[in-house]
Symmetry: C2
Subunit: 463 residues, 2 copies
């Protein structure tokens, strides 16, 4: 998503001001309203906030103050300990058959190479399936490179299968004896900004150093691999330095806050986002936007007076690196005994909502129709299919077999930015951010004012 700076107007305005010895003055806001203030504030005053870091702790304090200032009740930081990972210095270059620096970043839960770098032959695999088909032991002492062909899609559906190169590729390479792995980023842009993200070590797989290169670097490697395969060049050699390492028992925490309803005896409505971000960008689309959207919508739903049910907001800690012990799990542990009616999450950027799905029981068809009717005027179309909920609400949904509404956002450009340094405020369009708030508000007004039971028609585990 190439755009001119969002501060064009600001800078033009500043440029006309009389010079002062120290500073120009202007208000930097391009957008306005609660959602924008949250996204702008978190990205400007906190910035990157990887789970377990001091920055994530500062973000919790910032969130607590912000939610109190916005009028929420029962605002609490709920600390927990979690598995996390810390980035270290990282760089790589091809040393043969050509000398080429590579734009690389470590994957979460990578283990470190030697400080002086891992020097090894790099073997090209066009797909994860090709890596899986490699004979046992065939990669001993080598670095595997795994390519793939993720393409952009409005519903982001490429991320599941192609993201598996990141999630599973390192374990598979390790099982084949590889000393390390480099993958093409799970992303759809053509910047030299690789996409990070956690890998998952399968049972029995010895962790190895694991990194991702940008798409242009992967293109380069593919061109070189073709020369190698054609006998026009000798084997690829890589000099790989990735010094990030796991960070067990890291401090994290959730922030929860409530807008009490008129009937405290009714099960509550939970809306969630995550407060932590990857460390490369400032976490504007992933997921300051989600926090802005759910929080602004909760407030807007009560603008004309309290809703019937209490709306609880969860800004989760350690979504990005939580392997069953992140903020979602901790929330379910802390609040699993409190009755919930429905849970929703916003964690897919700030582009327009274009589809809605639910998992309501057939008996709740009238409620589903009301939700859909509230969204028709906004161009949001009901779709069938499984609902996702999301990582921050998944545990409580499974535990309580909750009803879910998924507001599906346009993901065409999401994987240009996801988990990269480019996830910054300028990528958030204030107009589409507000469209999200409006859609969420419409749904919350229906759901939080529903007096009857809201039943999940699917069952908890099969969401």
């Amino acid at each position: 998503m190439v755009r001119t700076s969002p501060h064009a107007a600001l800078l033009a305005a500043i440029a006309t001001l009389p010079f002062t010895a120290t500073l120009a003055t202007a208000t930097p806001q391009e957008g306005s309203g609660v959602a924008w203030d949250i996204v702008e504030g978190l990205t400007t005053e906190i910035g990157p906030r990887i789970a377990g870091s001091d920055a994530e702790a500062r973000a919790r304090v910032w969130a607590e103050a912000k939610l109190k200032a916005l009028g929420f009740s029962n605002v609490k930081i709920e600390p927990f300990t979690t598995g996390a990972w810390q980035r270290g210095p990282e760089h790589a270059r091809l040393t043969a058959p050509y000398q080429q620096p590579l734009a690389i970043t470590a994957l979460g839960y990578s283990v470190p190479t030697p400080a002086e770098g891992l020097k090894a032959e790099m073997v090209y695999f066009p797909t994860l399936a090709a890596l899986e088909a490699a004979p046992a032991g065939s990669l001993k002492g080598k670095v595997a490179f795994v390519d793939h062909a993720m393409r952009r899609a409005q519903d982001g559906s490429g991320y599941g299968p192609y993201g598996n190169v990141r999630r599973k590729g390192p374990s598979i390479a390790s099982q084949k004896g590889a000393a390390g792995i480099v993958i093409r980023s799970a992303g759809t842009d053509s910047n030299r900004d690789p996409h990070t993200g956690s890998t998952m070590w399968m049972k029995g797989a010895t962790p190895i150093p694991a990194g991702a290169v940008s798409n242009p670097d992967a293109d380069l490697i593919a061109r070189i691999a073709a020369r190698v395969a054609a006998g026009k060049a000798g084997p690829m050699q890589i000099d790989l330095t990735l010094l990030g390492k796991p960070f067990p028992n890291a401090p994290s925490g959730n922030v929860v806050a409530e807008l009490p309803g008129r009937d405290p005896s009714l099960p509550i409505v939970l809306v969630a986002c995550h407060l932590d971000s990857w460390d490369l960008g400032t976490g504007a689309i992933d997921d300051a936007s989600g926090c802005g959207i759910v929080t602004a919508a909760a407030l807007a739903a009560q603008k004309q007076g309290k809703t019937l049910r209490t709306i609880r907001v969860l800004w989760s800690g350690n979504e990005e690196m939580g392997m069953g012990d992140g903020g979602g799990a901790h929330y379910a542990e802390m609040h699993g005994k409190e009755p919930h009616a429905l849970a929703m999450e916003s964690d897919f950027g700030a582009d327009n909502v274009w589809q809605v799905k639910n998992n309501f029981a057939p008996a709740d068809k009238a409620l589903a129709d009301k939700v859909n009717a509230a969204l028709w005027p906004m161009g949001i179309v009901p779709h069938q299919g499984s609902v996702e909920g999301g990582a921050d609400v998944g545990a409580i949904i499974r535990q309580q077999h909750l009803a879910v509404v998924d507001l599906g956002q346009d993901g065409t450009h999401y994987f240009d930015l996801h988990h990269t340094p480019d996830d910054t405020l300028d990528k958030v369009d204030p107009a589409t951010l507000q469209q999200n708030v409006d859609a969420w508000t419409a749904v919350l007004k229906v759901i939080a004012n529903e007096p009857g039971e809201i039943a999940n028609g699917v069952g908890g585990e099969e969401q």
Copy 2:
């Protein structure tokens, strides 16, 4: 310019191949023809090739072999010594009022900060004019930040005035006593990839550390500066590490080659590009594309038989950092006594040619009409205005008062990529690259077959 990987078809094809223990096979070429081969080859087999480096030397050897293989005569490497600059480790972060890492790169001819970093207050200036207006001595011990508002333009015309922040800003900040300077990149993208480029130390200005941050980082700094100005936050503090340093007497060289004409007594036609690149990307648009275009066009102009005049190709060394001692100057020194008829250069990427200008004498109107007529069918429009020639041919143009034809390329996206890590092969569209070759071929067919004198109507110095 966000695009899907150019190797979609390749990867899809590879994915269908049977797995082999080591490699998939396929030909990686998306484009075809001489120009594409040069751009693909230089970026894949050489990559970044900053002036004075071993990589630039490898590029000369590569170029010599390539030009010989293409059938050029008198292929020669012409070595010279030049002023250059070497990049070092570089990173920066704000430490107050908020902790934020910054995506930064040093400018060419920056001097190093202390290895442990320069820690100083950073003062915001909205424009170069604001910096110029700062009282003498007011920046003592501080780092100046200079913002600006460059916008994209088809003719690239923002680069002159806004590029002055890079060219002149560091000298002006130094003259005000600054310990260092950081600027908003002279670029139009919104990636976290800052734009490098040389600064020029004015007479009497003490060199200081000088770097550029990406546009999103500059946006962040502008937002923070507004909070500081409004009294909502304390002063900005930066921790700046830029260890690049000047590299005097660096080894460089030009590569020249000829396609002899039927009448060796006639003044030759010179077409040029530059072989060196900045070190952050692989120099695909700046300027492997130029070398591909002029070389392919020279060959195409002789495809039906020798032209009347000899066409000489110059792949210049050290264009990017030559301060009057780069490849263009060395060419004029070596070849200034040989009669030239006209010089042209391609150094503005690979997007479509859309306008043509010349500096022909009124007596040459018929020739100008012929050049223009050859381009009309391609949608290329004659424009008035001064011609530029370019850095690689500027010295010989001034020395011999040469005629010039400028084929103006679309620069709308050029400054998204210029001098950044994103200057890679995937940004070159084979179709527009070929349109350039076709336009250049059409012009060369007219010019290199012109029997009469080709006169500059402007005079050498005022181009």
